[in-house]
């Protein structure tokens, strides 16, 4: 038996847009699933305003997020288009959507309808708040979930304003949870023979990541203190300003030995033998003072130098990398790889940052043009003859 990717042969009908959904189905594609995006010129995907847009309307983010998938163009508001979508869903293992609550039902593609046609279907909703509950109709964006989901008020120190991450975050968190739920549902289908409806809430995915603090608040009747860059185990710990504009180095002193090594590296070994800094409890008590002492030293040096000196002394230290440091690094990690992308020659794309020793990942394929695979998929999945395709096209269902 030749090893194949884990989800080889799994047919995914992908109704998702923006980021969380497409990110999830890209993971499925990397695992070898046949992901077919249902798109339409009437409703172009709008992931985020990007500085790169190709002539075919594809943004940079689309190219990265939707590579390795196929695209069928179907006008879901057209009766014949909807009929084709129903037939595709009947042939699919998986339908994924991240519309607002009720949209799929209004299109006649609700779970109950599709389940009746295909009892083995796994149907995944990925809306912001889920399709039930008082917030089901709320719309949400990444920043909403960062705020509502608790990230902003658990990040940063006591008395800081809410702090966000200036990047998508919840989309990835939601997409990863969905991907996990999907593979699990596929496995369980092998035992039960039945599909499933996963009405995922991205909000809940976000809250899950701070759930220990929610639990603590539920029992203790107060939110735990925000620690900022400090630790309850290690002291000192912080991100220290270095020489240069907005340059920083993270340092984490995990034991007394490292503390002494730090003070030695700072040229201040007598600090390391002071009783009031001798152990972690004392250092916690005098953290502010210690931070000032450390920063007086780090601010004289480039962060590369701080990092180098501390690491050679066995101290956990990492300078703050910027995006360009990561992307341009000669020893760039396995998280990114170059993929063929005809529109730009090749592009850097995110990989599955994990490897299975037996099952390979699927090779990268370029993001599709809108409707690029309509004919191919309708033949592959449904065996629809060219004649019928021509007719459907003429009726305007495949746009």
């Amino acid at each position: 038996m030749n090893p194949t990717p884990p989800l080889n042969g799994i047919k995914v009908l992908d109704f998702t847009h923006v980021l969380a959904g497409p990110f999830c189905t890209r993971l499925l594609a990397d695992f070898g699933a046949d992901v077919v995006r249902v798109e339409s010129t009437r409703h172009p995907d709008y992931p985020w305003p990007s500085s790169y847009i190709h002539a075919d309307g594809r943004h940079a983010s689309y190219l990265n997020t939707n590579r390795s998938k196929r695209s069928v163009a179907i006008d879901l508001k057209h009766e014949a288009g909807r009929a084709i979508a129903l037939r595709l869903a009947t042939a699919a293992d998986l339908v994924v959507e991240n519309f607002s609550a009720g949209v799929m039902s209004r299109l006649g593609l609700g779970y109950e309808t599709l389940k009746a046609l295909n009892p083995r279907l796994i149907y995944v909703g990925m809306s912001g708040y889920g399709n039930t509950g008082p917030r089901r109709d709320w719309t949400s964006m990444n920043m909403n979930l960062q705020g509502y989901g608790g990230l902003m008020l658990t990040t940063g120190a006591e008395k800081d304003p809410p702090i966000a991450i200036s990047n998508s975050w919840n989309d990835y968190i939601g997409g990863l949870h969905a991907c996990f739920g999907i593979i699990e549902a596929l496995a369980q289908r092998e035992t039960t023979g039945s599909g499933a409806h996963l009405d995922l809430s991205q909000f809940e995915c976000s809250v899950s990541l701070i759930a220990p603090l929610v639990l603590s608040s539920a029992v203790n009747k107060s939110s735990p203190k925000r620690l900022g860059n400090r630790s309850a185990r290690y002291a000192p710990q912080g991100v220290y300003r270095c020489d240069g504009r907005d340059e920083w180095c993270a340092i984490s002193i995990q034991n007394d030995e490292q503390w002494r090594a730090l003070t030695a590296a700072m040229g201040n070994p007598e600090l390391g033998s002071e009783a009031r800094f001798a152990n972690v409890c004392e250092r916690m008590r005098h953290h502010d003072e210690i931070d000032r002492r450390i920063e007086a030293w780090t601010s004289q040096l480039p962060n590369t130098e701080v990092e180098k000196r501390l690491r050679s002394a066995g101290i956990p230290a990492e300078r703050m990398r910027r995006i360009q440091d990561i992307v341009d690094a000669p020893d760039r990690s396995k998280a990114f790889a170059r993929a063929e992308e005809p529109r730009v020659g090749s592009m850097l794309t995110t990989t599955l940052p994990l490897s299975l020793s037996f099952s390979p990942s699927a090779p990268f394929r370029p993001a599709p043009k809108l409707g690029e695979h309509t004919q191919e998929v309708l033949k592959d999945w449904l065996g629809i003859p060219d004649s019928e395709l021509v007719e459907l096209n003429e009726r305007g269902a495949l746009v």
Binding site: N144, G147, T155, S166, R321, A335
Partner: protein, 374 residues
Amino acid sequence: MARIIDFGSLAVAYATRLLAESGHDVIRIDLSGGDALRRMGPFLGDNPHLEHGAYHQFLNAGKRSLSLNVESPAGRRIFTELLQKSDALVASRPLPLAEEELRNIRPQLVFTKVEEEEAELCAYARSGLLSLTGQPDGQPTVLGSHMIYLATGIYVAVGTSAALYVLNQTGQGQTVCVSMKDCLETFIEQAMVEYAFSGTKTERRGSRGTITAISGALPCKDGHWVISQINRPGRWEKFMDWVQDPELMADPSLALDENQNKKKDFIMDRIFVWARKFTKTDLVEEAQRRHFPASPVSSPLDLVEDPQLIARGFLKEMNHPKFGRILFPQGAIASVRGNSLSPAPTLGQHNREILAELGYSEPDHRTLTEIGAI
């Protein structure tokens, strides 16, 4: 349902928590002195105790606990026997036996080998994410709640689940390698794409959005709220209908993307002046009525009473043997599946039943306790 051994730190614990939410039999191998997870605050009842850690109570819910001294010969043997009856081992701790031995003992094993970073702050700095988090003029800051371990844990769960699916389909075991370092870098995807395609260097912006001009957290009467006003045709006018700010309305050109982006700080400042007269609930409910993505900014304590989390069963009442009736966060997967998890086990709570499953007798159990193997 697979039997899965949980032998790791935070990322592994969240991965196996997800597997438990999904219905698998997860056995956490606990060190008899209590591992770092059990020792991680905050502590329920403010009691620093191995059974009171909030991370332990959340992450180990739905699992069984076997306390095991894997360095003792008898402990290593139990580990081996458990392995023979398990489908997966998810581990970031040093194993009591060499990797090739695992395969000899259990050829069909899914072995997920996780490299978790010891120094959270350093890992975050190294990944590039630190440069995206914090006030532009202040110290950049790590995400709260040790979230980056849990985020890594989802990848661990995904990889393990995929390998279990292959095992299920083909009978083939394999090793899944996941490094926290690689996982963290994937989360800069959006900034990476912008930079790779057009050289845009994303920087941290406090609590404001990067891509969308009108996006971010703002103070209001009773806290903070978030508005995220995607600029589609006609949206600006609808937004002004609501806000009714004369200075903003005086410049109709702000309806255009590029102008919004140029003046985004001015716009946000005006919205701030307007919004601070209202409460979170007023603002968010009115915004949602008008189809603007808005939300409150919640503290963990706020979330305890969230009607959506309660209505969907994400927060579910549990009668906890130690803490009484509490609202317990079931988790995103358990919530979707309608599952309720058992409370986190006390240290070694399932020693008896797991040893029995491995064929040990009651006297064996006593002996193994006496010699400190469990």
